[in-house]
């Protein structure tokens, strides 16, 4: 039986060692050779809209809030079906050796190429065909990100109107923070304190008042009016995303994400303090249950190769390369900040998965207090709950158990902190939505560049920022709009359909595409390191070997999904998610061939 505090200490040690040795000494100093002397695109290409230098802490906030989303929370919560050891091992290993390397290199490669995306960098190392294939793939992946997260956000707002209230109130506070920092030139510390007080007041308000825009009864079909609120929120979130993605980054994105980072730090600090207080308790979850428990679509899901389809952002994610080389690289004021923002941001995300999800769920596994409150059904464990609920319950349980020591009633503290956990999740989802829209706009604009010499007027219309954002949001919303029947339950009255939001169908396609994107982006970065930075021997291998290993794992995972899972899914998922997954596989194989050709050419040139 492992005490929680021992595990916390080991994880912190691993992260500190990884940051100082692997990140700083090897990647930063030996491979990339970052220098304060080299000007970044935020300075050389400053435009006041997308290319704008940011304070490293502000930029960390943006980068972290954009990459976090629901991934580091939902994925590990689902993977707890393996027990706590395998998910934790995958988070730590993937984080240090793949995810953080991938994010940092994508950021630095983009910075060195003037702030262009990882996709355009592929043209420099793999040729023009690779660029267009990669662009189509990325646009496709970003629309899936938007659809999946938009669907989750709309459902979250419909389920708990308090989350909608704070998400709405948070934005004007963030704008005011930006106004204080940039217009009134108030010291950043004072501006931070003022906005923190406002956020606390907004939290207290939201704890008591929810905003609702219609009925939400997921047991009813859309035709019976059970999903009105979901559909309305989806449209409102779409309008928000178009606006937020088209506004200058300094106006909303930078201050909002900076404030978001404080929510993260608060969330992480609370849970670490909580884990220290309840640290002598042993983890109640088994370390290992089975190598192949029933997870995806109720099918036996082998840890290898399926784990990347379950745990995404907490370990590694291709979406991060798009953020790093999309919005972050255009705001990096100094090359030396990249380690903290890129490598550090990814380690923090892994810490979030470990401390706020895996360990709390393991502690709350079958807690008598939760069974007594009716949160966990009797004779069952926390796995009886949905993934988001597992996270909320675990977080709330650790915090309530801690505050119980100080005479605060368990049930009250539990209620406050389960809401707080939901709010953290919502903040990240909203950020991911407008960042993915902005990135999809960039991708769309790059994809259309061949039209410019032939029809400049058409090019101007198609690449207008409002038009481009609208196209992306429109397609994403259309994908997220349908409510689907996920299963049918037999009752004495006959079979009853169980409805859920579209993310249930989109998630596997999103996860698979996203992880394959990570493999392709890491291969692109590996080629940049090998061919351009001339990092050979051990340093080159440290990047190329994980890239290829990841590609093999994700390819096997997607093939497993197509063979074992797709056939048992309802038609809409089989056709929709199945065709997207097949498309991803074909593109990734073509890109792998281009990668091998480029690598061999590079080696031949060296000889």
């Amino acid at each position: 039986m492992v005490p929680a505090i021992a595990l916390v200490a080991v994880i912190i040690l691993i992260y500190v060692a990884a940051y100082l040795y692997y990140g700083k000494r090897i990647l930063n100093e030996k491979v990339v050779r970052a220098s304060v002397e080299r000007e970044t695109p935020a300075i050389t290409k400053f435009d006041g809209v997308d290319y704008v230098p940011a304070n490293r802490y502000v930029l960390f906030g943006h980068h972290f809030a954009s990459i976090a989303g629901a991934g580091p929370i939902v994925g590990p919560a689902i993977a707890m079906a393996y027990g706590w050891f395998l998910p934790l091992a995958w988070v730590l290993f993937g984080n240090v050796f793949i995810g953080a390397v991938h994010d940092y290199l994508a950021l630095m490669a983009s910075v060195r190429y003037g702030g262009i995306s990882i996709v355009s960098i592929s043209e420099n190392v793999m040729g023009r065909a690779a660029r267009y294939l990669f662009l189509i793939y990325v646009l496709f992946a970003l629309i899936l990100v938007y659809a999946a997260f938009g669907s989750i956000a709309a459902k979250l707002f419909s389920l708990d109107p308090r989350v909608a209230t704070l998400s709405i109130l948070f934005m004007p506070i963030a704008l005011f923070l930006g106004f204080m920092m940039y217009r009134m030139r108030i010291d950043i510390r004072i501006a931070t304190i003022i906005s923190a007080i406002l956020v606390i007041l907004a939290f207290i308000y939201s704890y008591n008042v929810g905003i609702t825009i219609g009925q939400f009864n997921p047991k009813l079909s859309p035709e019976e009016g059970g999903w009105i609120a979901y559909h309305r929120w989806l449209i409102i979130i779409g309008i928000y995303s178009i606006l937020a993605a088209s506004l200058p980054v300094w106006y909303l994105l930078q201050p909002r994400d900076y404030a978001n980072a404080y929510m993260l730090w608060a969330g992480l600090a609370f849970i670490i303090v909580g884990l220290i207080f309840v640290g002598t308790r042993t983890l109640q979850a088994p370390a290992y249950t089975s190598f192949s428990p029933n997870i995806i679509a109720g099918q036996p899901t082998p840890f290898w190769p399926a784990i990347p389809l379950i745990i995404a952002c907490g370990s590694l994610s291709g979406f991060h390369s798009l953020v790093a080389s999309g919005t972050t690289s255009k705001q990096l004021a100094n090359e030396l900040d990249a380690l903290f923002v890129g490598y550090g941001g990814m380690l923090t995300e892994g810490a979030l998965s470990s401390f706020a999800v895996i360990i709390p769920i393991s502690l709350a596994w079958q807690a008598p207090e939760l069974i007594q409150m009716g949160v966990i059904p009797e004779d069952k464990n926390i796995l009886a709950l949905g993934a988001i609920q597992r996270y909320q319950v675990g977080y709330g349980y650790v915090m309530a158990s801690t505050l119980d020591n100080f005479g605060i009633q368990f049930a009250t503290a539990y209620k406050v902190f389960t809401l707080f956990a939901a709010l953290i999740l919502s903040m990240y989802i909203m950020t991911t939505l407008d960042t993915s829209t902005r990135l999809a706009r960039f991708t769309w604009q790059e994809l259309m560049d061949w039209i410019e010499p032939k029809a400049p007027s058409l090019y101007k219309v198609l690449t207008n920022k409002w038009v481009a954002s609208f196209i992306v949001v429109f397609v994403g919303t259309a994908l997220a709009y349908p409510v689907i029947v996920v299963k049918t339950v037999e009752t004495p009255q006959g079979p009853v359909p169980v409805y859920d939001a579209a993310f249930q169908a989109i998630w596997p396609a999103f996860a698979g595409t996203n992880q394959m994107l990570a493999a392709i982006a890491l291969m692109t970065s590996a080629l940049w390191v090998y061919l351009i930075l001339k990092a050979r021997g051990l340093y080159g291998a440290l990047i190329i070997v994980p890239a290829v290993a990841l590609w093999i794992t994700v390819t096997a995972g997607l093939a497993w999904w197509l063979i074992k899972v797709a056939p048992v899914l309802p038609a809409i998922q089989k056709i929709g998610a199945g065709s997207m997954t097949l498309f991803s596989l074909v593109l990734s194989i073509i890109l792998m061939v281009l990668f091998v050709i480029s690598l061999l050419r590079g080696r031949a040139a060296v000889r």
């Binding site: 920092m181 008042v209 825009i213 004021a333």
Partner: protein
């Protein structure tokens, strides 16, 4: 302030002021005189979840929120000097 940008600033100012007023109306109404109450969660509601009517307070909050997002951007327009300086402009 150029003559060309004046209408933009006026629209921005109007959107900001209207947005703030609408948001304040909805937020205050949520405490003082809520449209509905969620008995399960024990909270006041802006809007209602009992019918599909879009209540005035919920509409005010949402329209106010979106107006505040775009209003100040039009009103104050150009990139702040502090950011230009950071970029050496």
């Amino acid at each position: 302030m150029s003559a060309q940008s004046d209408p933009k600033k006026i629209v921005g100012m109007a959107l900001t002021v209207i947005g703030l007023l609408l948001l304040a109306f909805g937020v205050i109404k949520g405490i003082a005189s809520p449209s509905d109450v969620d008995e399960n969660k024990g909270i006041n509601l802006i809007g209602t979840n009992k019918t599909n009517d879009l209540k005035l307070d919920a509409l005010a909050v949402i329209i106010g929120w979106l107006a505040i997002l775009i209003g100040p951007a039009l009103w104050f327009g150009e990139t702040p000097t502090v950011i230009r300086k950071a970029a050496g402009r």
